[in-house]
């Protein structure tokens, strides 16, 4: 019981998630900066930013709904932390798992986006309202391909649990090759989920300042920031758990392998962010429905055929 609680709170649960999230932000910023020929921040910069924001005054707009305004960042962080419980980090199994936890994880991952939408909506500022609308529009675009891309491998693995899928693919590593298109779709849609360039229209600073978060400050903003960092870790972990399930069977080695895999995913995401311009929201929707969704559907069909053909 106590061990389980420790696992959830300290390692590999919440504490690890936040620390790793800050590290991820540093890596992301550093790589981004180096690609842009800049020096980039020192390693403690994300933590320093976080601490500084914590110490700042929190201003709540007079028109905003106070309770919701304050609850949203916490809910958003909690949802990401809850989702992280179901992803294997240390060893083969996640902290908790059950048949169908993949669906739960995906829904937990939708909560931060919804929180962002509500945060903008309840801020009662034109910029944030517009940002919220864009957040929601964008969500309808990437959510479908992302879900389908993550569910397709489950068809072959014949399990709806993340741990189960990891275990299956660790045993049959060659099957991952079939899932490569889904992997690419998941990475691109994941970039949309994380609202990073080229899909950062909701918070496009040159158009609508900071989008939904424009009215947030101080502690609440710090919580949102850390939630976004954790979401980044979460997406990287989920993608690497499903599409890069290489295992050695040794817990420590597996953990190191986990770090390597997630960092590799992060580097790809950072590269994508550095070499592209921001798309317009309607271009983003077009792209997701025109290219990503058909590829994901095709992947599902292929996987069904493979499953039938191999008699799995």
């Amino acid at each position: 019981m106590i061990l389980g609680l420790l696992k959830i709170i300290v390692f590999p649960g919440f504490m690890f998630l936040t620390v790793y999230g800050l590290l991820f932000e540093y890596l992301d910023r550093k790589v981004h900066a180096r690609l842009q020929n800049r020096i980039g921040p020192p390693w403690y910069q994300p933590l320093a930013d976080f601490l500084k924001l914590i110490g700042k005054e929190t201003i709540i707009p007079a028109d905003a709904n106070k309770t919701i305004f304050q609850i949203l960042p916490v809910v958003s962080l909690a949802a990401v932390a809850a989702a992280f419980v179901y992803v294997p980090v240390f060893g083969k199994a996640s902290i908790a798992s059950f048949q169908g936890d993949l669906i739960v994880v995906l829904y937990f991952l939708s909560i931060p986006t919804m929180c962002l939408f509500l945060a903008g909506w309840y801020s009662r500022s034109v910029y944030s309202t517009l940002g919220s609308v864009r957040t929601l529009t964008q969500m309808f675009a990437y959510e479908v391909p992302l879900f389908m891309a993550l569910l397709a491998p489950a068809l072959i693995a014949k399990t709806w649990s993340v741990t189960g899928m990891t275990a299956f693919y660790a045993e049959h590593p060659l099957y991952i090759l079939i899932n490569i298109p889904a992997f690419i779709v998941a990475l691109i849609a994941g970039q949309g989920k994380l609202e990073r360039v080229p899909f950062d229209t909701p918070e496009a600073e040159t158009e609508i300042v900071a989008g939904p978060l424009v009215e947030y400050s101080g502690r609440l903003l710090a919580l949102f920031r850390i939630a976004v960092d954790c979401e980044l870790v979460m997406v990287a972990s989920l993608v690497s758990a499903i599409f890069l399930p290489f295992m050695t069977g040794h817990a420590i080695l597996d953990f190191i392998l986990y770090l390597v895999k997630t960092v590799a995913v992060l580097l790809f995401l950072a590269l994508m962010r550095s070499v592209m311009a921001r798309l317009r929201v309607e271009q983003m929707v077009h792209f997701c429905w025109k290219y990503l969704t058909p590829i994901a559907i095709l992947q599902i069909i292929v996987n069904l055929l493979v499953r039938g053909g191999l008699g799995l």
Binding site: L130, T206, E207, A277, E282
Partner: protein, 408 residues
Amino acid sequence: MSEYNRVVIPIGPQHPSLKEPGCFTVTLDGEKIVDVVVGIGYNHRGLEKACESRNYIQIIYLLERICGICSHTHTTAFCQGVEELAGISIPRRAAYIRVIVAEIERLHSHLLWLGVAAHEIGFDTMFMYAWRDREAVLDILAAVGGNRVNYGINTIGGVRRDIDDSLRQDILKMTDALQEQVKYYQELALTETTLAARLAGIGKLSGEDALKYGAVGPVIRASGIDFDIRAVDPYAVYAEIPFKVITDTHADVFGRTVVRILELLESIEIIRFCIKNMPDGDIVTKAPRRIPAGEVISRTEAPRGEDIHYIRSNGTERPDRVRVRAPSEANWHAMRHMLLGQYLADAPITIAAIDPCFSCTDRAIVINSGRETELMDWPRLRQYSIDWYKKRGIDVASIKIPERRMYF
């Protein structure tokens, strides 16, 4: 859609996409722009009135500070206007130096624009690259005039600083390195898909409309009209320099980008030509303090377009009227036309595509009233800033800056 679905969004006066104050009140229907009110004038600080109470030499320095970017072009326009009034002609070497500095300034301005435009569409990597390359241009300008902006080159009757042989070599070295970079940007702009997706078809302005709204500079040239003061009404030594007037037929933001990038290459060629053919001789002739009465309309091609100065002298040491029609001022008029019917997401880049200079538009200068002014030299200014931070607990001097890599 009914009126109720409309949202009014103010872009400015303080907004991350605007580097200077201006206010665009945008009415949106969803993401589409249905109305725009262009509000400018936040930078008006009464420069023309100030000109009337200063003598001609003082005005040069005043006009140099109209704009931080195209400062040289304003003084060129003013000086050549006054020279025309006084009936003096400047030494050829001075004219060449004016052209060289003007073209380096164009490099600086266009690179700056390239960075800003990339930033507006969220392409920060390009922004950083363009501004890194711009640093080398600024270093050259600092070597020529002693300052990164406001070089203080022009004076009535010529120029104040010579360009010696070692400096000429430095300039050539800079242009060689820059040319490669600009060619890379050219390739990037033409092939990178997200960039093209964001730039093509945005801010359409047909040639007819461009003429009607009085657009100038790269904006009108991107609409297919070869209007360049350097060719139409050559000043300094432009009549002797072989150069192409760059035009493009896209008539949108993409076209304006292409025009500016190609102009960078053309400017490099002009600089090379001037450096090669620069004659020896004096750099300044004597000019009278009192300028004979008369009026003159002086034009130059600033990086942003046609710059018109109207100067009227009444025979004293001070002008009767100085009016500066900066290029940005001419480009504002088409803005509403270009923005209507577009997506909000394209508004920043459309605004940026005319390379607006709000200070130029409003012709501004800061005059500290009621405070003693004093001159600080460079080391003292630096020391002052270090002390300022030290007082607040930050020791700037202890921060180690890695030795600057010369990219060129």
